[in-house]
Subunit: 211 residues, 2 copies
DNA sequence: TACTGTGAATGTGTTCACAGCC
DNA sequence: GGCTGTGAACACATTCACAGTA
């Protein structure tokens, strides 16, 4: 009844729920909050409250229907609309990312790969042809690209970000070894692999002892 | 006084502070909480309280000494002890990561690269020779490795994680297109590039409009 | 009995607001 | 005046605890 907006903390757990549901035996039809909570080492009431925000209805004494859960969580995460991705910078890393199966296996569609090097433009990478970033404006619009992967050398990275944001790309994954800024007036949040890694390392080293 | 433990939320902001300080003009000697807050679009009191946890002392009317801030934040993150990293799985992605300058530029030392393919073992990658994962136990101990990058095919990934954790590696960065589990009895937190990306995309698409 | 749904209590992080020093 | 240091107020997330339903 007049449910509040979904909290960020809940949203950040949704991918975990999805993974967890994916691991259940295929013949299992319902799952209880307690089961999920145990698998993720979190509190069962938290799971129930998270599902309550999503308006996932469970049955008392039984649990939640797995199928419905998956589709409602997926919808809340926007996974019902497939996300389209481009990679800018076709050096070693960009090339590897283009071949990386992880994107496809998570439902991301790789729509284009770009580089400014005339020696690379025209080369094929899988189904795609490497093109000049001048084509980004048109491609982003026509393919409705929402995620940009920046794998250029450091000096070029900020310019690429500015361009992507200007074109309406709402997520940037930065692999360039440089700090990037969101252009003024935008609220783009950045996630940077190595930074996340360091945070992780801290929390863990902190667990054995200090602080 | 008798300062409480540093909150997780504070720790997660420390890398941002570090980046932000890194962007200041080289001749600037002090910085105010307001300046940092504006650059990161957060509240100035939050910045001051974060620094207070770290026992960073500022001067009223002046601000914080940049040099001291950098070294104290770095120490809190454990960056004063260089972190050592290994990559397991030398396919396209592992190979690219081994050549990726981002690790080195962030002070991470790549100590070893591994693959089970006899055709790859013995090949050199930069300064390193690809070796069989059987050597991990010795290398992890002798080089004090704290971070493992998993870039194997999906079926091999869980075994690699189990091995790394058993050997005492406290951080795992997973590039394999599969959900991994922390072995029972461990509190390893996992970060997975694509998951972070999806969360990011959600927050942003949520800002333009839908509830 | 097994489980959900949810108000209330608790715990934690953020922001305010202002006293105190440069 | 500019800026820090910090208690107090507030906002938010987590957990408890239990009524309610299959």
């Amino acid at each position: 009844m007049a449910r509040p907006a979904i909290p960020h903390t809940t949203v950040s757990r949704l991918p975990l729920y999805l993974r967890c549901l994916d691991q259940l035996p295929v013949d299992q039809e319902t799952v209880s909050s307690g089961e999920i909570a145990a698998a993720l080492s979190i509190n069962a009431a938290k799971v129930r409250k998270d599902f309550w925000y999503l308006e996932c209805e469970g049955r008392r004494g039984v649990g939640y229907d797995i199928q419905s859960l998956v589709s409602q969580i997926g919808a809340a995460l926007g996974l019902d609309v497939p996300l389209t991705i481009v990679i800018v910078g076709m050096g070693n890393l960009g090339m590897a990312l283009a071949h990386y199966q992880g994107f496809a296996s998570r439902g991301l569609i790789l729509a284009g790969v770009y580089d400014t090097d005339p020696g690379k433009i025209g080369e094929t990478v899988g189904d795609l042809v490497i093109r000049h970033p001048d084509n980004l404006a048109e491609d982003v619009r026509s393919r409705e690209v929402s995620i940009g992967v920046v794998a250029t050398p450091a000096p070029a990275a900020q310019g690429v970000v500015d361009l992507l944001v200007k074109l309406g790309v709402t997520s940037i994954l930065n692999f360039a070894p440089v700090v990037l800024h969101a252009p003024a007036g935008t609220t783009l949040r950045r996630v940077d692999v190595a930074t996340e890694l360091l945070i992780l390392g801290y929390h863990q080293s902190n667990q054995d002892g200090r602080g």
